[in-house]
Amino acid sequence: MNFNLSNEHVMLQKLYKEFAEKEVKPHAEEVDEKEEFPVETVKKMQKYGFMGIPFPKEYGGAGGDIIAYAMAVEELSKVCATTGVIVSAHTSLCAAPIYEFGTEEQKQKYLVPLAKGEKLGAFGLTEPNAGTDASAQQTTAVLDGDHYVLNGSKIFITNAGYADIYIILAMTDKSQGTRGISAFIVDADTEGFTIGKKEAKLGIKGSATCELIFENCRVPKENLLGKLGKGFGVAMKTLDGGRIGIAAQALGIAQGALDETVGYVKERRQFGKPLSFFQNTQFQLADMHTKVEASRLLVYKAAFNKGNNLPYSKEAAMAKLYAAETAMEVTTKAVQLHGGYGYTREYPVERMMRDAKITEIYEGTSEVQRMVISSQLLK
């Protein structure tokens, strides 16, 4: 057993840290305040191969592993959770299912530009009446000649409006329940596909979260991803992988808040000494640090398992559950240790606290993660 990062991973971490510090951090405040999708940052990430880390080179990827990918999301999220989720949704929710379930033609046509970062990806499962109960899909896809005709709408879709390629889940046979759900690859410019309302959110404000509307949207038959009626499995498998990305995002947010706090308590003085001299501060920091480290071990373990074809569904759920709750706890404590200043926008911890909350909700709420974990335990 070896807990050391490989030389490759150490070098990757150096790259991610440098990039995050110089290219992402300076814009984080503005991205949040103006609710602006960081288009320029995404272009830069494309240039340096951040958009296809875990995919083989023959498909335009960097030829890396899942840990390398999780570390990227972690380091980006440390300074800007918005940037972290853009990469995570693109990689885990759009490129990954094409890589895992796509035909060779689909991989050439869609995975290659996604992995190269030339195109941005998104994933549409959630509907107004199908949240945690994803099986209650109402969007339909009906075969008409060489096309499936999609009708319905999706909500809370990350990267919507900026993505070029969407993975969309729809009912191809309502009578079959979850076995009547199929997955499709939909180009953004397909006729009948429009972007609806953009959500105003508590956190990750720069991330575009919108409604997708399908009105007689004709998708070529060959864009069916995976087998007909196997879409629910595609979605669940995709979310298992996605949870590693979100867990890494939560880990990054927590680490970022911890780092900010360590710097602050050394500088801020009350009662004639730095806050770091008070035992309460020391104990709080010790707890925060311990939980962040525990999260990291869970995240890297899940990523290791996925990369080595070991079971990872439960591991990913545990990583996401623990890292998300840690992110919420650590950012809350970070604001508390910053006192009044922590509540103001002068310091980044309030943003981190707002950003942390979503990690307990999207790609399966903490409750869903507990269901996944316990169902495997009691199996």
Binding site: N7, E8, M11, K14, L15, F50, I53, A62
Partner: protein, 260 residues
């Protein structure tokens, strides 16, 4: 065009701190980086690779750990990395260092040698010009811009109060300024290539032709007689008062010293 870039792995001196109690240098935990002026030189070379298809060989002299710096340059896009390492090279001053590097360069085919102006740990700016002298090459230092016109380079050579535009024929050596460009990052794929597909060439004393009396500590004309940290000055008075009061204190002091 064949380019050799000389780089040095240096401690990030901006991260170095003095122990306030003992006054000694805290070296632990100080990260090693590629010297900034050298990195700009590498970027200039990589740009020529992008534009003209130049090949870029990176040479460094240092301890075995300097391999990491070469992996980094490979991940940025350099073609070849050579680590010059031997106990015999240790303790060299700039004269002996440049002599050793020049001997290694004699084994490599080149049109242009690029070195950073100076390293942040020594700040001497001597090794580049001294390599050029050992190799009998024309040199242009303090370069901030570079254009290639066949076998001629057109360079912007900086001075304190302006610059010279100069022309020089290859082969030659230039030293580059950090202000020249913004070096690219490594790419994710480049990192995997650097570790999985490329090799660092390690050269020892036996791989180069050089007079052994010119090497290392023995071959160095200069010696360090002693090194020390500066004694601390007695601190003045510290005031923690409201801004108005603070302004008064400062103005009173300026009056006392006849500055106003």
């Amino acid at each position: 065009m064949k380019i050799i870039v000389c780089i040095k792995q240096v401690p990030d001196t901006t991260e170095v701190r003095l122990d306030p109690k003992t006054g000694t240098l805290i070296r632990d935990g100080v990260p090693s980086i590629i010297n900034p002026d050298d990195k700009s030189g590498l970027e200039a070379a990589l740009k020529l690779k992008d534009e003209l298809g130049a090949t870029v060989t990176v040479l460094t002299m240092g301890p075995p750990q300097a391999e990491v710096a070469l992996r980094e340059v490979l991940a940025m896009g350099a073609d070849r990395g050579i680590l010059l390492t031997d106990r015999a090279f240790a303790g060299a001053d700039t004269w002996a260092t440049s002599c050793t590097l020049a001997a290694a360069i004699n084994n490599i085919d080149y049109d242009l040698i690029i070195a950073g102006r100076q390293a942040i740990d020594g700040d001497t700016a001597q090794v580049g010009p001294q390599i050029a002298e050992h190799l009998k090459l024309p040199q242009v230092s303090y370069v901030e811009d570079l254009k290639v016109d066949g076998e001629t380079l057109i360079l912007k050579r900086m001075f304190e109060d302006g610059y010279h535009m100069v022309k020089v024929k290859t082969p030659c050596l230039i030293t580059t300024l950090k202000e020249m460009n913004e070096p690219r990052y490594m790419s994710v794929g480049g990192i995997f290539d650097a570790y999985r597909e490329k090799e660092i060439e390690v050269w020892n004393l036996k791989d180069i032709v050089v007079d052994p009396t010119n090497l290392g500590l023995k071959g160095s004309p200069t010696k360090v007689k002693k090194s020390f940290t500066k004694g601390a000055k007695v601190a003045g008075k510290l005031y923690e008062v409201d801004p108005k009061e603070a302004a008064k204190i400062i103005v009173d002091k300026l009056k006392e010293k006849y500055i106003i």
